[in-house]
Symmetry: C2
Subunit: 324 residues, 2 copies
């Protein structure tokens, strides 16, 4: 089952794929994004997966991948365990049918994360309250996590990497709803059924798990914040840095702990991957820099491995790349 | 089942979602990309789906989504029909267990495309021979198609839109293997098992089906060629224009037929979607243009709907967008 994955190490694409077989992850929220993310992780052969959701499968969920008509009415965790254990019985699955926003439940969940030695938490929830709870838990445990979201009109989404004390926490750069201290329920439009598309959900699931694999196995470039605009096929990348004035005290304590930390998620750069072009869109300051193997500043378009090539070499290499 | 999809029209995101319920599509190749693409289309409620593959499910396929261990040994089309008909019995499925590269088979397949009034063909094949056959069929029938591919090391992929006589055909801008007239078998490295990742496959499936939905329902911007570099989260967009010197005579005939055609796939622009940024990377000529509601030239970074906003308005809107 893993021959096409083990080939990644054999081909030199990743340093050592088998690292993933020892990793323990948690997926919170088994909706359109989380369920597919969990399936990908199971097919990649992670050691252990903590699965969390409180909801039941509804008919309205069937336009996304994963659940099937015969699952309607059952809890998502039960169905997920059934499906995933049939796909790969070697992965240990630990289901929790809880709402992580509850005080008691968040304690239970924190304990589970410790007990199961979770290396990375993936948040695939659909509300800010849950994200705020997960932020508090991740900061408390100093646990790396990644967060994914899809807009209510199904036309955009994002993923974000949150390394406590090193990158922005969820409160360093708070969404409007958190900043304004409004109740989330007051801004939800009554009577409007959120739209969703299997395509947009799956782009976000795939970006999330790809980023998780890159972070855990150490290959490529881990994206701090990657957006997807479905209408325009536009993919903004935004470095979200830790905020020294973050309103969360625990975040500030961890910032102290990691004061020496330097952004170092560019495994592709360290491996000197040939023909790499880092592209990160900064709408206010777009530049093309020549040469240089270190990125002085993110948020610019950099050509780092091109310095020894002539223009015609570059054109040839790029056209070969396009033809792939 | 379709409430979250019908919401797309209700919310004004797409002109009329229900158009998709009348569409007939063909998916050729039910591997890691095609099988997931077919499932998405079935969950989106297309009317009819022609499914084509000659292979059987192998254990080595199980690291991607869709097939499960109990399917190993059966033909992919049989399994796909079984899975997809359970997910949505309302979609008519027409299976073909054939190799479209064969002379007789390509005739059978052409007839099926006509008989089933296929609106769009999706090519999810893994070799150039099959792509060349599909190119010939699409040109012969003047049938729009979209093509997807993932690299042998699982680290990149692309989708391409091919509208006969209007955009580049597969021979207008031929890949190296076609140009050099080498036999494909001579460049495959013996003993090397191609790597694959569910994440990369799923990004490409999702881009492909999203692009198909945009083309068929007319919303957003249809990408002519969209690439994905998994290591760097880099997404090159390349407009592939028809080549007046194409070596395919049928292509040149159709170019004559559509000589009046102008690139007009930007439904987002026509709908004047708010806060849109078209971004297309041209490594040789990067510019930011002010204003203008028509794109004079693709391959540039354009800000088209911003002309009436101040810089601070823009910053606020962009930060609101990020916070979503």
């Amino acid at each position: 089952m893993y021959s096409r994955l083990d080939a990644l190490s054999q081909m030199g694409v990743v340093p050592e794929w088998t690292v993933i077989y020892k990793k323990s992850l948690a997926v919170v929220g088994l909706g359109g994004v989380g369920s597919v993310a969990a399936e990908m992780l199971v097919r990649c052969g992670v050691r252990k997966l903590v699965l969390v959701d409180l909801d039941r499968v509804e008919l309205a969920n069937l336009n996304r991948l994963f659940y099937r008509p015969e699952h309607v009415g059952r809890t998502k965790v039960d169905v997920a365990v059934e499906i995933l254990s049939r796909i790969n019985p070697d992965v240990e699955l630990i289901p929790f049918s809880i709402d992580v926003s509850g005080v008691y439940e968040s304690d239970v969940f924190s304990k589970a994360l410790l007990d199961h030695q979770v290396d990375l938490l993936l948040a695939c929830v659909d509300n800010y309250t849950a994200r705020m709870s997960l932020n508090a838990i991740a900061l408390e445990l100093d646990l790396p996590w990644m967060e994914a979201g899809v807009s209510e009109n199904a036309m955009s989404g994002h993923i974000q990497t949150l390394l406590p004390g090193r990158t922005a926490c969820f409160m360093c750069c708070p969404p409007v709803i958190v900043e304004s201290e409004e109740l989330e329920s007051t801004i939800l439009r009554p009577g409007v059924c959120a739209a969703s598309l299997p395509t947009t959900m799956c782009v976000i699931s795939s970006f999330l798990v790809q980023n998780a694999l890159k972070y855990l196995i150490k290959f490529g470039q881990v994206s701090m914040h990657l957006g997807y605009n479905a209408l325009l096929d536009f993919f903004p990348k935004t470095p979200l840095r830790r905020n020294p004035s973050c309103s969360n005290e625990r975040c500030k304590t961890l910032q102290q702990k990691y004061s020496e930390w330097v952004e170092d998620n560019d495994f592709a750069e360290r491996k000197q991957v040939q023909l790499s072009v880092e592209t990160s869109i900064n709408p206010w300051n777009i530049q093309v820099l020549d040469g240089g193997t270190q990125f002085e500043e993110k948020g610019i378009i950099t050509e780092s491995t091109f310095q020894d090539l002539s223009l015609s070499d570059l054109k040839n290499k790029l056209s070969a790349l396009k033809r792939r």
